[in-house]
Symmetry: D2
Subunit: 259 residues, 4 copies
């Protein structure tokens, strides 16, 4: 749970490109509130008054992710698929900067190839895939991890897109879930990273073609990931600093401000 | 490949409890030279004159692992299953000590529960299992890793015991392989660790009930693991040392010997 | 902060060998309530009613760490130095088992060589040392980590025993603090590990010969470490389990109980 | 040592912005062959005929790093400081792509802020610094690591720029060296990363204002790092691939090419 000792609720922004839902009736029918709506409802369902959840989409000015919005966001959840290239580099850089300064970041499913995630990883973030109604089993490999709390192992997802290894990401700081698919492939489906002062949790289950975001265990993992990536301190970007000799003994001197 | 610039071949010892083969005709027929013989032949096949391979078994005095033998072993490969408890604690401690001083260690399959591996990991090393002729697929998740060199992804093993998560080990320093089984389970089947000055590579495929050690890809991985765990320097156990102030500027002084 | 949504306070046990304090007047004067008393007061000071803190010492039956005590302990803090060998192997094994089942563990300073920590690491846990009134500077290298929250970087400790590399432990899952000493040595002084379902935080500052446990920043780190190692779920030891094919689809079947 | 079983020498390219040396007489006098010349000589000195070393600089067309040059480079060493911004994004992206496909990469000292390294890390790569003739001590914390082979611990560098924590990089896959400075700061000075199919070793000692690249131990570390980052297989960029069900059983089918 988000820390209730905080003076305000955790502020979550769920971002979605919202293209499938606005152009494909079948997908619009599957997610009548949009994928962002489904994801937002999962977070609200689990955290209640301890969070405030808002959404933002690609079509909005600056994709709804202005400096002001990000500065007021504790955790950003991201869903994108066919419109990664339409995200402005400037916005992707802004998201990256806020994550490194402490904002939590939860990229979901095809967001493995989103600009902010790829920039934060430094790798290609490529993988193998197949859209053929595989059954996905999500196994917990880190039983004590907070993101896995209250989640059965395996989570059984009856129909799902296959994501398979090699998944070209840095080795996760903590590997929490590994999935298998009925076709035999495996995938590191729950990957925790610390970058700068921020935390990232990539979670792969979820797709526009299957009602995965209605799955109760998937919804719980997303809510857990939001809590786990929540920042523990003040937002502050890492920076290059010149330091005088002995600066830490004389905090008032130039070049000696303490952190 | 082992470093040919060395003045002598890499010295490999393959240890096997050798109980199944000496008490169960069917298994003796599967591995006429013992599992140790099959594993030793895989290493010799791939490394030729660059290695010397000997074997040792539980029934020998001190299980064939005297201080002298271990001091003359660069890499120790270990197979055990039903007789873990019959390994003397003193010998297990000796193996652990040599690994921490730099000896390579390659525990195979059911050696996940061997005394030396459990001592080196510090965890229970428990897992889920089933002996029901599952097909195992071994996927490479670290494509650039030397242990995966020349190995297809996936390796297809038609019949195999299932080992499944949770596998209670420390997160590997490098996770190289993940397996899936036809029953749907997943397992971190190739795990690289550095402990003290030594390297450890745990590789799970292989079993007394299936001819897995005849599989060409499994044989190659074992040979690769031997090369990867080979020590890079002199055998030297880590030790507690008192140091004088400024010892590194006066290597000749008491408490100032350099390493 | 410990999670206030829990129905009861976090139960902390501070263990101390309590030998210096009972045999050396100077040390007894420095820590009139014992080192365990000083450490316990740091935890109580920061967490208040959110924790209950008790202490246990070597001289008690079973060193005060019976099965009942450990089963009722969420986080165990450990201090030992000259009496490591007097800790019964059975008790050390019991502590290890509880940590792997989820109990938090915070070994302090010379507890790097305590039996439970050495068993959990699997390495020698040796290091370099010198008792010569070095100044220690404790630098945060993981700014976003909860254990570093509210702590300046560096923490300045005017007089302290030197602990130097090489520190023979597995690479930490998260390296939080690195110390330097006025003699020039460095030490990984704050090391976070996950083992089994439990969390471990080793923190090196603190000594019987210096009043380090009165230092406000050291006290805060210890309190933070207690919160960070607090278990997130039910205590449950990892175990070996046989599983039927498809067990996860039929939880009621033998071999198919879900976790 | 590079693997002599290879049919050709290891091909190393040392890149240097070469601005200080061509604009500041004092630095030109310190490094008459340029910093690239000093670094190249260190590699040649240690590896002899097992390597071929060429150099490239900022002023050349495409900074001397055309697609052809990189395709024929096994390991790229990088030095830059005041002209990071003058490196074309296209070249930085090209270097990143080759590293992910398997080329070794050894950024030195102020290359912590070079475009290729920052892109590969995904973080700000900022740090604290001071140019005040600190003494740097480089301590080995991973005694068995090949990059530390033959290097004393500590390496003593009499005069050096201070680089201090927090160093905003992902936690290294292997932390090999930690430095302390006479001013009291610490720095993770030897950081090993695996990214894609490539390996990266960042090593911080070395500066234009001090003759650090003449230091025999620094030269050895650089040579070791070149050997350690050398690729183990064919250059191949990670890629997104669609896979048919059962593709691994029918390698000849579309979507079923094996890797």
């Amino acid at each position: 749970m988000p820390d209730p000792s905080a003076t305000r609720p955790l502020r979550v922004t769920v971002w979605n490109e919202n293209v499938h839902e606005t152009t494909e009736p079948e997908i619009a029918a599957r997610y009548p509130e949009g994928i962002h709506g489904a994801v937002a409802s999962a977070i609200a369902e689990h955290h209640g008054d301890a969070v405030t959840v808002r959404t933002a989409t690609l079509a909005e000015p600056e994709h709804g992710l202005t400096e002001e919005v990000l500065a007021a966001t504790d955790v950003l959840v991201w869903w994108g698929h066919i419109a990664h290239d339409r995200v402005a580099d400037e916005v992707a850089e802004r998201v990256q900067r806020h994550v490194l300064a402490g904002m939590g970041f939860v990229p979901l499913h095809s967001a493995h190839w989103s600009k902010p995630f790829v920039r934060l990883m430094g790798t290609t973030c490529t993988l193998n895939w197949r859209n053929a109604e595989d059954r996905e089993l999500v196994w917990t490999v880190a039983p004590g991890h907070p993101v896995a709390a209250g989640v059965p192992s395996p989570v059984v997802i009856d129909r799902q897109e296959m994501y398979g290894e090699p998944f070209d990401v840095p080795q996760p700081d903590e590997l929490v879930f590994i999935s298998s698919f009925s076709g035999g492939e495996v995938f590191r489906s729950g990957c925790a990273y610390r970058r700068g002062s921020g935390r990232i949790f990539y979670f792969s289950p979820g797709d526009q073609d299957y009602p995965v975001y209605d799955h109760p265990d998937v919804r719980r993992v997303i809510a857990n990931a939001v809590a786990w990536t929540a920042p523990t301190g003040e937002r502050r970007p890492p920076e290059l600093r010149r330091r005088e000799t002995g600066w830490f003994e004389a905090p008032g001197q130039p070049g000696g401000e303490s952190r």
